[in-house]
Symmetry: D2
Subunit: 479 residues, 4 copies
Amino acid sequence: MASRTSLEYLESLKDGRAVYYRGRRVDDVTKHEFLSIAVKHAAMLYEFKRDGKFSEMANYSDPDIGLMSMFYKIPKSSEDLLKRHELIKESTRYCNGIFNIIQAIGSDALFSLLITSAKSGDSVLRQRVQKYYRYVVENDLAMAVAQTDVKGDRSLRPHEQADPDLYVRVVESNSDGIVVCGAKAHTTQSIAANEIIFIPTRAMVEKDKDYAVAFAIPANARGLKLVCRPVQEVEGLGTDDAPLSSKNLEIETLTILDHVFVPWERVFLFQDWKLAGELANTFATYHRFTAISYRSVMAELFIGAARLAARYNGIDAAPHVRDDIIEMILYKEILDMAAKAAAHHPLFDDRTGIAIPNPLYTNIAKLYSNKQFPNIVGALVDIAGGLTSTLPTTDDLNSPEIGTYVSKYLQGSTRYSGEQRFKLMRLIREIAGGPMTGYLMGLFIHAEGSMAASKIALYRDYKFERAEELVSKLAGVPI
Amino acid sequence: MASRTSLEYLESLKDGRAVYYRGRRVDDVTKHEFLSIAVKHAAMLYEFKRDGKFSEMANYSDPDIGLMSMFYKIPKSSEDLLKRHELIKESTRYCNGIFNIIQAIGSDALFSLLITSAKSGDSVLRQRVQKYYRYVVENDLAMAVAQTDVKGDRSLRPHEQADPDLYVRVVESNSDGIVVCGAKAHTTQSIAANEIIFIPTRAMVEKDKDYAVAFAIPANARGLKLVCRPVQEVEGLGTDDAPLSSKNLEIETLTILDHVFVPWERVFLFQDWKLAGELANTFATYHRFTAISYRSVMAELFIGAARLAARYNGIDAAPHVRDDIIEMILYKEILDMAAKAAAHHPLFDDRTGIAIPNPLYTNIAKLYSNKQFPNIVGALVDIAGGLTSTLPTTDDLNSPEIGTYVSKYLQGSTRYSGEQRFKLMRLIREIAGGPMTGYLMGLFIHAEGSMAASKIALYRDYKFERAEELVSKLAGVPI
Amino acid sequence: MASRTSLEYLESLKDGRAVYYRGRRVDDVTKHEFLSIAVKHAAMLYEFKRDGKFSEMANYSDPDIGLMSMFYKIPKSSEDLLKRHELIKESTRYCNGIFNIIQAIGSDALFSLLITSAKSGDSVLRQRVQKYYRYVVENDLAMAVAQTDVKGDRSLRPHEQADPDLYVRVVESNSDGIVVCGAKAHTTQSIAANEIIFIPTRAMVEKDKDYAVAFAIPANARGLKLVCRPVQEVEGLGTDDAPLSSKNLEIETLTILDHVFVPWERVFLFQDWKLAGELANTFATYHRFTAISYRSVMAELFIGAARLAARYNGIDAAPHVRDDIIEMILYKEILDMAAKAAAHHPLFDDRTGIAIPNPLYTNIAKLYSNKQFPNIVGALVDIAGGLTSTLPTTDDLNSPEIGTYVSKYLQGSTRYSGEQRFKLMRLIREIAGGPMTGYLMGLFIHAEGSMAASKIALYRDYKFERAEELVSKLAGVPI
Amino acid sequence: MASRTSLEYLESLKDGRAVYYRGRRVDDVTKHEFLSIAVKHAAMLYEFKRDGKFSEMANYSDPDIGLMSMFYKIPKSSEDLLKRHELIKESTRYCNGIFNIIQAIGSDALFSLLITSAKSGDSVLRQRVQKYYRYVVENDLAMAVAQTDVKGDRSLRPHEQADPDLYVRVVESNSDGIVVCGAKAHTTQSIAANEIIFIPTRAMVEKDKDYAVAFAIPANARGLKLVCRPVQEVEGLGTDDAPLSSKNLEIETLTILDHVFVPWERVFLFQDWKLAGELANTFATYHRFTAISYRSVMAELFIGAARLAARYNGIDAAPHVRDDIIEMILYKEILDMAAKAAAHHPLFDDRTGIAIPNPLYTNIAKLYSNKQFPNIVGALVDIAGGLTSTLPTTDDLNSPEIGTYVSKYLQGSTRYSGEQRFKLMRLIREIAGGPMTGYLMGLFIHAEGSMAASKIALYRDYKFERAEELVSKLAGVPI
């Protein structure tokens, strides 16, 4: 189908889903003061797809399926991956620099499931995934993916935890399907999704086999509860002082499964513990490719803000400003070049011919991105000045009593008015000196996998042969 | 006098001062929902001074003045500076790791004024400062210091600005005193002060002489307006989810002088542009010594949180945890050792015999502290995990409908309950993943002077002779 | 022609060139104790091209010219650039990780001259360059490029220097050609080249027009003097203890032009000061692309050495070893992915259709490579241990009196003998603890341009529009 | 006794000691082309002590012993430690920035032995150490300390090694004394010492008890063999081009014990495995205090060289130069302030009253110093330019044929001649671009203990209580 309208999409969310905000059940996420921001943000993706300017980039006419979202196009070539990279970037820019996950992550998971189910050798499973893929695409659905289990004691495997529910698991299976319990943390935009795909978070051993489960459920499934993080970005500063978050943000939930029934046709991995790690990894690779693409555009927010702040403050010629901005450019461009190299040098899955972004380049950029982010914030704060912490509010600017003082004294370079400088600083406070800053720290450091996990994987998978042979030969010693 | 009670102090603030919060005049800061936190935080310093456990450390019996606040004791020796360092640290710990500026900064300014006025050679001025010092001490006053001008275009000197008010200046002088206009940014705890001291922010040239002005006024001076930053820390998360900020925080203001009259007895620098830079620098040295002392205790918040998070998550044996925490230890201890070295190797002012913390060590630690802070936040987030961004709220924990899920699924190591882990994570979100994080970024990077300014000063003042001579002699070439 | 044999190449160097080593004229570089290493290293490129294993990669059959060196193939597509990248890497590996510049740099310069001469609009010039290109290719010549002038006072332009010769300049021109004076620093492998191309090192203004000159001369041109750096690598440790440098190294010279005559057919830029900067930049881009390619293989030396050292020392499971090696992997792979992205996203010169590696990605990787190199050395030293500084020599190992002690006490992990560990450590000392280390520091930090210069160029050329527009639109303020 | 003359000292080394250089026995170290440099460097300490300018600082009149070397004065106060700090720095400066270890390290070991032997509770042992201390002091001896065992497989304890000799051990004991075998690596200036003290390198378990041994032997003890590292600094560049190393350097040896007999009066630890770790640690603390003191002066070499290079190159006003030099200043001053803080806040040994430099501050500075050193080298190379790798030699400068070219073209700023710039660059090549650079890398990264070992110790010993209590109390959760 052609892209749903944003209205159709928003209507589809009124389905009785069990969403909680600050301890209270939310009747209708599209109407909630804060959650509606996240939902409308998701809806912008549907607007993006229908925007004439982006329609070619965002839609695809499949010979078999017909018109469909470009996000769901299965990548079979470098060109497909490059287009996907540009699509993610352009849609992120459309949403003011905030990633819009609602179809990207679903496709990341679907591609992984297509590959893994093919590998399983189980043709029933394979067809199930294909059928579900088609269901999602044909209905232009909005998707969330729940991967990270709550995990309990991080030093223990799933089956070793004191409470067996600390990783999502099958508690019962019968001829109709399975029943699952457990909880996933940090599920982005589950409240804005039509369907949620659950996949394992790590490699498993045989004793973990009840935890080796992947499946999909609608967001209003009975027994599913979505507990939201607070929208501190907007609550903390107020709508006027949160020019970005009051328009664009995403919500993560603690996603609880209390004896949720899943029919067999939605079960995509069941007890096959050997495939759990591979599914987790393949998804991670796709999703990190997505991540380095969107993060490159988020970095533009920092670069643009830094450039304008320097000019507004009258310090654009200062050497430390240049150095700070070069740090930011390196940040953005290393992500970008990595994504491009990963697209140009993909792996191809044997069985399905699906193209997988080069995992080495993807992981390196992701690791770089996690580690450097705090310094990017620091660099912007360095340029913008102490006002990132101490700026008054829009209400002060608008106050008849003190507004004129505020605009008078916030004058910087005479090329701009005090009010304009206030507005710029208001945005900078939001991203580098406000609630969103703290939120972004966690996002950039942990989303799509911790640094420690990335390092272990990177070191484990790296091909050292050529380097070791070079030295062994040269030194005349064995490896 | 012995320390005022916290009640006496709080009463003293009900004086009609013109405080604005989000565009509205605040009648009584001690009663305002958010500003009262900052004010009660200040009051804790009076409790600290009267607490038997700290009374010896916090009070001093002067042969001349009698019992007085130890903060105001004029340092004449290394021992005095060391005690001051410990006093600042212990009072910061008393306030849960949040600096309590209300007498420290006042004394930083008073010491600088005593030195500078002595240097001026003007005995009237010198006596004025001494008299004012005695007034502050004898009344155990709470003080703010307004130094950083709003500055307009940073590439221009005060007298070159398009709007002459962008640095605080004398607009009129007569036999009674002077009239001042302008605004200072980032004035910490002005709303909680009895008196505010204004000093120049930079070195000046002759044409800037109307800007070479230092003076003190009561916080309720006519024409003085205090425009607060928003308390996003508490507004964003709510009291329960801001366990630290709902008890301890400080407020900065945009501090506006609209034709404020200052009688001569409160004018401490007037047109003597040559002394402006020296006063600014001497104050900066004292205040940076204060800063590296309190920041060392703030770092304890991060170290303690990291250690507990590692244990609660079951990852205390992981190598990356150790590396992260060692980064934090270096952060804290480099500040601490610098403060101690600065105290042990002070300068002594010729005329007054007042001990000034070693500026080189003080500035180096300050610069290190600014630059490394983002990585300290990053290190805590790395250990604590994605929950710093996605943790539900206390209302969720307490909800009859979902509270049990929250505590069940937040279980980490079995040595602690899910509820305990929630409470720990709630605090960590506050400092490393919430509104306070953004606020701290600006604070740590800019408070007490920008990095660029610090570098310029450090490089300008450094004694290169011995190093250059060593190399010149060795290479046999001229310097 | 097909690749010359290494013997033919070596013979071609016996042409009376004026080479100086440690103050003395060298009669025959192929016979000199230390310079012969550099020359034989160059000869290995001819062996490489004739090696069956690499012949397809290293040779190209041009429809017009016939069989020729692949280094000289003019890149017209991403594929050409990618092949060039692989060719540089593989030939570097063939030479034990040491770059072999002798045709790469010549082609970097020739491509730039082809582009710039086309741009000049001067068809005579264009044909001259084309003819010279053909001459080089058809004779399979070895080339050096002299770009960096000695520069005198770095704060002055060419024409402002006290001594007019501090940048290479035209001192006379007549109907036959021009006469040039001046000197270039750091000319790599000039002693091993058949021809040397001279190009400007920077952008120029009109007054610099006598310095806007590019030309080629044979290495035995009258008036040309090549003053070598000392081969401290081999002299310091001795052949046995310099297993790498005694086989593979390159020599830089101070390259002096004392009234050297250049016939017009070898003059490629003359007084056209506007093109000087563009020629310098285009060459820099090609040459930095070359640099990030070969540096990626040099990094393999460090990675391989680190892996083996960890194993030989019995610390391969230590977390700090993994972290050190991951630093090295990032180093190598960021260079690699940048080179690939630069090849896949080239610029195309309008007039000639020649593909230029993406300058942004090339420069970013080059800057990263310069800045991080000291830490790569540090990481290897960290793993290898103090023996990088204190290892005895091969003569000690071979000594009848003490050899058995040396091998006994250098035993590490029992998987390897003490002698084997000695041999590994000997190589590691050479690259990370010996004379070559110091040499590499300068090479990695300065070759192909200083960091300060790179930053200025990067910042100047960066496209900030999208980032600034994003923020401007979002904040509602002008750019 | 008053300080020996340097001549007396040099004579004392002609004692038949078994020294090997490049596989050959060296008859007389004072006459050997390269080893004599190290020996004469050591002799400079005796000159220093007799130099009127330093005699007060370098000598001490003990009421009991009489006039003695200040290095051996047992520190009993902060003042003593501060004086020791200054003594180490000043003597390092006297030796052109190169540490002169020959009495400092001996005293580091003697102080540790005095403390440990007192702790052992064995009064015979205690008196032995005291007697030996007196012997050393009264004869103004030059000392080396051999601590780091060759260690074999780093993942195994001493008693677990395949070859039992990989840690120094007692192979026999009888009524006269003990017989020891094994080898120590990296023993600095053993060839220039009168006596060598051997102490354990790590904590031990009961099974390691034969390895828990400390003792002293003369440098000519039978069975002791000293295998030198090569003096690549001077061999690589030649005397003229190694202006520093040709005057001042230290030599490390592989120090082999082949059945060396030690009489009981020289055995200071025997089988008391519980004390091994403590002795190792106490020595390490003293020696790291020594290290951060001398490294601070070595840093002056880099700072001075950077300043002069900037000026000679005409780039002293460039912002990146300032940033590079500030990095160096931080390096130097963090070491300095740490040493001072460690001196002002020492531990005092209960039994002996000996002052031990604060281990926390000492270790932090040492760790910082190891980690940052590569960047200090990088910073100097950045300022000095590519000539650090490609500079011709002094022979070129002096050559009648090409000398005038060299001086002409090495002209930088006109404030200096080309020859002067050559001489400066020659020194900079030596420290930042030559054989000494590689040597220094190992020295700065590994001398006085590896970073990994330092981190483990630092983390293990750190007092986390206050930080954990602060957070525990604030969050309301257990530790």
